[in-house]
């Protein structure tokens, strides 16, 4: 693949890119509000679990609050974002599926559970949460000479994507539901950030070609000096345009528009995977940090 072809391939993946885009403001939650949100969810869950999760032990830590629940279940809520994760407390190899259903059936089971959570109440106006991807967690055994046992399905996972004004908010799945073989709720994660319904401004979006160039510049910076140009070993496996949701332990005040690409690099020795983001506007205040941390507390030099 030539450099030009690589850039064209990147750019062609950016679909439905508007000329201008609004910058939705995100509700800023105090710690007490994140806890209230978590406790509302526990209350909702209790209605379908015979009151099981009404009692809890609440432990407030520096960056999260941990709710220890009956039956070994727990819920954690992150103060910075309000993102929360419920874990049902089942052992991971307990309650396996008796057979592996087809994908349609698994998605149907996940959607039935999703309806119990009433997603529209968990997000703002002009927002939606839509099913995005089915995951399956499976297990098997293998002998020393390579003979495999039949696969068993341990869990199904449904990933959902948050849309604001019909524009996807990318990042980790905005919500996810994990079910056991008898459709008990094994885990539920909700990291979508609710907007205020107001916009802090409107920005012109740079062209898809410029977005591709910005992604490519990052890629070449990571590849440093190398004999083989990176475009010969790299291939975009997914590209998209949308807003960015930061990680659950980070605060975020507005939704930042970005061009995003997942890129695989295969050299003769190694496989590498990157998720790269490029700012989709020329506003310097809308450039997401991508510096990465320095190592902390490592040993002295050998």
């Amino acid at each position: 693949m030539s450099e030009k072809t690589f850039l064209e391939k990147l750019a062609s993946g950016f679909k439905a890119v508007p000329e201008k885009i609004e910058l939705p403001a995100i509700q800023q939650l105090q710690t007490a509000e994140t806890q209230k949100r978590a406790e509302s969810f526990l209350n909702l869950l209790s209605q379908t679990h015979e009151g099981l999760f009404r009692k809890f032990d609440k432990v407030q830590q520096r960056e999260r609050t941990l709710y220890r629940l009956q039956e070994n279940a727990r819920l954690e809520v992150h103060h910075a974002s309000g993102a929360f994760r419920f874990a049902g407390g089942f052992e991971p190899m307990d309650r396996l599926f008796e057979k592996i259903p087809d994908q349609k059936e698994l998605i149907g089971q996940l959607e039935t559970t999703a309806r119990q959570f009433d997603f529209p109440k968990m997000i703002g106006n002009n927002e939606s949460l839509e099913f995005e991807r089915l995951w399956q967690i499976k297990a098997a055994s293998v002998s020393k000479d390579g003979k495999e046992s039949p696969h068993v399905l341990c869990r199904s996972v449904g990933a959902y994507r948050h849309f604001v004004n019909k524009i996807p908010v990318y990042g980790a799945a905005s919500a996810s539901i994990k079910l056991t073989g008898n459709q008990d709720l094994d885990a539920f994660t909700f990291i979508a950030r609710k907007t205020t319904g107001k916009s802090v401004g409107t920005e012109r979006v740079v062209s898809v070609e410029e977005g591709a160039k910005r992604i490519y510049r990052q890629l070449t910076a990571l590849s440093g000096r190398t004999k083989t140009p990176v475009f010969e070993t790299a291939s975009p496996t997914w590209t998209g345009f949308g807003y960015m949701n930061f990680s659950p332990r980070k605060k975020q005040e507005i939704l930042i528009p970005a061009y995003i690409a997942m890129i695989d690099i295969e050299t003769k020795d190694l496989s590498q995977g990157y998720v790269l983001i490029a700012p989709a506007t020329d506003n310097p205040k809308l450039v997401p940090s991508q510096t990465g941390a320095r190592a902390s507390g490592q040993g002295s030099k050998r």
């Binding site: 874990a87 000096r225 990680s247 020795d269 790269l276 190592a295 507390g297 490592q298």
Partner: protein, 246 residues
């Protein structure tokens, strides 16, 4: 409480000069710092945290193969290793940014658990070939679980908190296998984690596997639930593995 060690490499300029096609990473230390912080907050003991060119191939190689794993990797309960990887017929294949004494470590030189190691966590791409999981057979010498990936493990803003997530899961009481699967999955990027453990004849049960008694189900980080007894290499009759696909 338990001990852990970390080796993490973000920059690969020396490896590239030596002909390895290794690009730099961005969020390596977000992940390794995050795991370190969470385990230390729960009063676990860091034995070492080597980074960049202080990570040596000999730290991973068994003493019987001329390495020093008795001082490092096999001298802690849990090791977190992040670099670029792949697999060969010899099992995992992972690169360093210095040749001390080799540029790469290979699974054929690993023998873990004959001293101490229970859990090996590799945040690297494709360190397990899902069609040849048996290539890991000999690394289990008391090791409980190998946590790796059978596809790429992505470096990006949605995986920067994987270390903290795994650490929280371990210390909140999840079994190690579940802590890994949940902690490194964001259910968006194509991370494909896999956990592999040995099974003795009782657990294998002539093919009617007692999953509930396996390391995958019941083995917790020290102090946060049940930790099962070692399965010696001689007792192994099968490898059990669990993976996320989608």
């Amino acid at each position: 409480m338990a001990t852990f060690g970390i080796e993490a490499i973000r920059h690969f300029s020396h490896a590239r000069s030596a002909g390895y096609g290794a690009n730099d990473l961005t969020y390596t230390f977000n992940r390794s710092n995050g795991l370190r912080r969470k385990l230390r907050e729960a009063n676990h003991t860091q034995r070492f945290y080597w980074t960049e060119t202080n990570c040596f191939e000999t730290d991973f190689r068994d003493t019987s193969q001329g390495g020093h794993d008795n001082q490092w990797t096999d001298n802690v309960d849990l090791i977190w290793f992040e670099t670029h990887g792949n697999n060969t017929a010899n099992g995992p294949y992972m690169v360093f940014d210095t040749a001390q004494t080799n540029w790469v470590t290979q699974g054929s030189n690993w023998r873990y658990g004959n001293i101490q190691l229970e859990w090996f966590m590799a945040f690297s791409c494709k360190t397990v070939n899902k069609s040849n999981v048996g290539a890991l057979w000999n690394i289990f010498q008391g090791l409980h679980i190998y946590c790796g990936a059978y596809g790429n493990m992505y470096d990006g803003w949605t995986t920067e908190e994987c270390g903290e997530d795994v650490g929280d899961n371990l210390t909140d009481g999840d079994p190690v296998s579940e802590a890994w699967h949940d902690g490194v999955s964001d259910w968006w990027v194509d991370n494909h984690p896999i956990t592999v453990c040995p099974a003795n004849a009782y657990v294998y049960n002539n093919g009617n596997i007692r999953w509930s008694q396996s390391f995958l189900n019941r083995d917790h980080y020290w102090g946060h639930g049940t930790t099962l007894s070692d399965v010696s290499h001689a007792q192994m009759v099968r490898l059990l593995f669990r993976w996320s696909e989608g």
